[in-house]
């Protein structure tokens, strides 16, 4: 676990001097973001249990990876999240309201804010990686200084699309950042059984592109590494593969039971108590005199309010309707779509009674 790049160790001690690289403001923002997304995550699990949301994929434990990487991005950069990367989406500008809507199965749940490029959560594993090659390629062709960052998991590294994406990005030197959160598991399958290789990062050598293995629970390491990759990318030097070593404390999704495949209590507890990303930044900020309990309380209150407001907004958002299903299949609807729409909007009570 130690052969990775780390800046802020688990005890909250700085291993290298980053003061002129990361401003205090940024650090505070990092902390604030991690706190809010963690609260969001817990709220979502709660909502799912109450039946107010569908199956949900939690990310607690992975906050540093997602928040640090997304915070490094600029507004014009393209973000390709998986189903587990709502923290990253929120940080890049997605509203919590919309993320709630997504998990409520609402049709409007994967719309990007119009001044951002936040792609819908990608469900089929690794498929988004090639899209991020394409969007980055287009940015490059247009001369826009933007990167495309694709999130993926350790399991995704086994799919063919991972390979094709890295190779193509390497060949065309697209400004793509491949950001792997190696949380040790693809659902139940541990990385040791997932892959013949010991790390994900080493796979970069198969494409002669840089591969960096970092402590994914160290938000400074994450942020600095992504910043460096962005520089390379926009300088025309091509893609970078980043492997952020992290852990999900909870279940794969709310439909999953991690006790079936790992010593959940011991392992999750160990990660949480020894390597938690939020706690370590908090310790550092406190030690640096940037944070205290008073601020913490204020933040927690604000966060709870924000989440509550987003939830209220989501729950009072106009419900998806049958007619929504027929929109946006094509720019101009086909005759099938038009005609079937008429059939679909017959109220249920009016059916089967024509006689």
């Amino acid at each position: 676990m130690t052969d990775f790049y780390q800046v802020l160790d688990p005890k909250g001690q700085l291993l290298e001097d980053t003061r002129n690289q990361i401003s205090e403001e940024t650090m505070l923002k990092m902390y604030g973001n991690m706190v809010i997304v963690r609260a969001f995550d817990r709220k979502s699990i709660h909502l799912q249990r109450q039946g107010r949301m569908g199956t949900y994929a939690p990310f607690e434990g992975q906050e540093a990876s997602q928040v640090g990487s997304a915070m490094a991005l600029l507004p014009g950069d393209w973000l390709f999240p998986t189903y587990r990367d709502h923290a990253a989406s929120i940080v890049h500008g997605q509203s919590m309201t919309r993320v709630f809507l997504y998990w409520m199965g609402h049709m409007d749940g994967s719309i990007s804010p119009s001044d951002r490029h936040i792609m819908p959560p990608c469900v089929p594993i690794a498929t988004q990686m090639v899209h991020a090659v394409g969007t980055a390629w287009a940015s490059k062709r247009k001369g826009e200084p933007h990167v495309s960052l694709a999130y993926f998991g350790d399991g995704a590294g086994s799919e063919g699309d991972f390979h094709e994406a890295l190779n193509m990005a390497g060949v065309f030197k697209t400004p793509t950042i491949f950001f792997c959160q190696n949380n040790g598991y693809a659902i139940s399958v541990p990385f040791s059984q997932q892959s013949a290789s010991r790390t994900v990062a080493q796979r970069a050598s198969a494409y002669d592109i840089p591969g960096v293995r970092i402590d994914g629970n160290d938000i400074f390491a994450v942020w600095l590494t992504v910043k460096a990759a962005m520089e390379r990318a926009t300088a025309g030097l091509g893609p970078t593969l980043i492997e952020a070593v992290t852990y999900r404390y909870g279940a794969h999704t709310t439909a999953d039971d991690p006790k079936k495949y790992r010593d959940q209590e011991r392992l999750a507890e160990e990660w949480r108590s020894e390597r938690d990303p939020v706690q370590r930044l908090k310790v550092y900020l406190e030690q640096s005199g940037l944070w205290n309990e008073w601020k913490e309380t204020a933040l927690q209150t604000k966060v709870a309010e924000q989440i509550e407001a987003a939830l209220i907004e989501a729950e009072s958002y106009p419900k998806s309707q049958a007619a929504d299903m027929f929109k946006h299949v094509y720019e101009v609807p086909s005759w099938m779509v038009e005609e079937q729409q008429k059939d679909a909007i017959v109220p249920e009570g009016k059916r089967g009674v024509l006689a």
Binding site: T55, V123, S158, E348
Partner: protein, 327 residues
């Protein structure tokens, strides 16, 4: 002897019994080992048969299906679980260009006795791409068989037939029915033949052809219309999508003169069209009305908040029946 089992239990039992029965049987898939499968179809099998036979694979469907092809060619009987139907696409080439053709290309020298099991269909409030029903893709591929059970009894018997079948079988399990109900399932190994439909409700006014989760919708519609109007609709569970049981289709429609197909899949180029064509070919003159299709719409399966609006409902099926009978 028999006891009441849910469909998932029946599937699990079929796997267990074939594993016990034939040492060549191997299960491959994501999370099927220690975890027992995301729907628990393989629960307990890892402990019983070990990691050599119950294989947690890497997350790589082309790799899983492709290596299963090799396993099958070299004496094993691979039973692959794909986590959800849409995740079969990365392995689509392996299925279409290899599994379906290996016997043909080698003139019978090698064959692929593989089963690919996968949950399919909507109605479980799943996220995107967890609710597809694209059975017609596979029905268009010569060399494959495609099977869909709608009851625990059929699930066990059809799965055993599929595992014993020397050719590749796509075995589609209606997710919605996994735990929907239980019924008596014999304890022993038994077979339900592939390619044979089952009339689950006799009738004389109209024939409903359906499969999987739509059977329950069809039955309910038929029952209601019997109560409400005294119409007797015959419900035929096709069970095999490829090959279709043409004789059963024709026998029923020749009797009733009216027919309706219900499927979850998109209407255009779905299996409803093939069933209509079979009727057109051989029973056109028996038809008193056009054969109706009540199907999923020609739109991507929507997010789950409105998936019920996408799926054929009892009301839509009833409306179709009324229109067909009063044509």
């Amino acid at each position: 002897m028999s006891r009441k089992l849910s469909m998932i239990q029946a599937i699990s039992e079929a796997l267990d019994q074939k594993l016990a029965d034939d040492n060549r049987v191997m299960l491959l898939g994501e999370d099927i080992g220690v975890n027992g499968g995301v729907f628990r179809a393989t629960e307990g099998l890892f402990e019983k048969y070990g990691r050599e036979r119950i294989v947690d694979t890497p997350l790589a469907e082309a790799g899983i299906i492709g290596s299963a092809i090799g396993l099958g060619m070299n004496g094993m009987i691979p039973v692959v679980e794909i986590q959800f139907l849409a995740f079969i696409y990365p392995g689509f080439e392996q299925i279409v260009s290899h599994a379906a053709r290996m016997r043909y290309r080698t003139r019978g020298q090698y064959h692929v006795p593989m089963v690919i099991r996968t949950p399919f269909g909507a109605g479980i409030r799943g996220p995107e791409l967890h609710s597809e029903s694209v059975e017609s893709f596979f029905a268009h591929v010569p060399g494959l068989k495609v099977v869909v059970p709608s009851t625990p009894f059929d699930a066990k018997g059809l799965l055993i037939s599929a595992i014993e079948d020397p050719d590749p079988v796509i075995f589609l399990e209606p997710t919605k029915l996994y735990r929907a109900f239980k019924e008596e399932v014999p304890e022993e190994l038994y077979r339900v033949p592939i390619g044979k439909a089952r009339v689950i409700r006799e009738g004389s006014h109209l024939s409903i052809f359906a499969w999987g989760a739509m059977i329950r919708v069809a039955e309910e519609a038929a029952q209601q219309l019997e109560r409400e109007r005294g119409w007797l609709c015959e419900v035929v569970d096709l069970r095999s999508i490829s090959p279709l049981d043409r004789d059963a289709i024709l026998a029923s429609v020749k009797k009733t003169g009216r027919a309706l197909v219900v499927h979850e899949a998109h209407k255009t180029a779905g299996m409803g069209a093939e069933i209509i064509s079979i009727i057109n070919d051989e029973a056109l003159l028996y038809l008193k009305a056009p054969v109706k299709r009540v199907t999923g719409y020609d739109v991507p399966v929507p997010q789950f908040a409105i998936e019920d609006d996408y799926l054929p409902t009892v009301a839509r099926v009833k409306q179709g029946i009324v229109e067909t009978i009063q044509y």
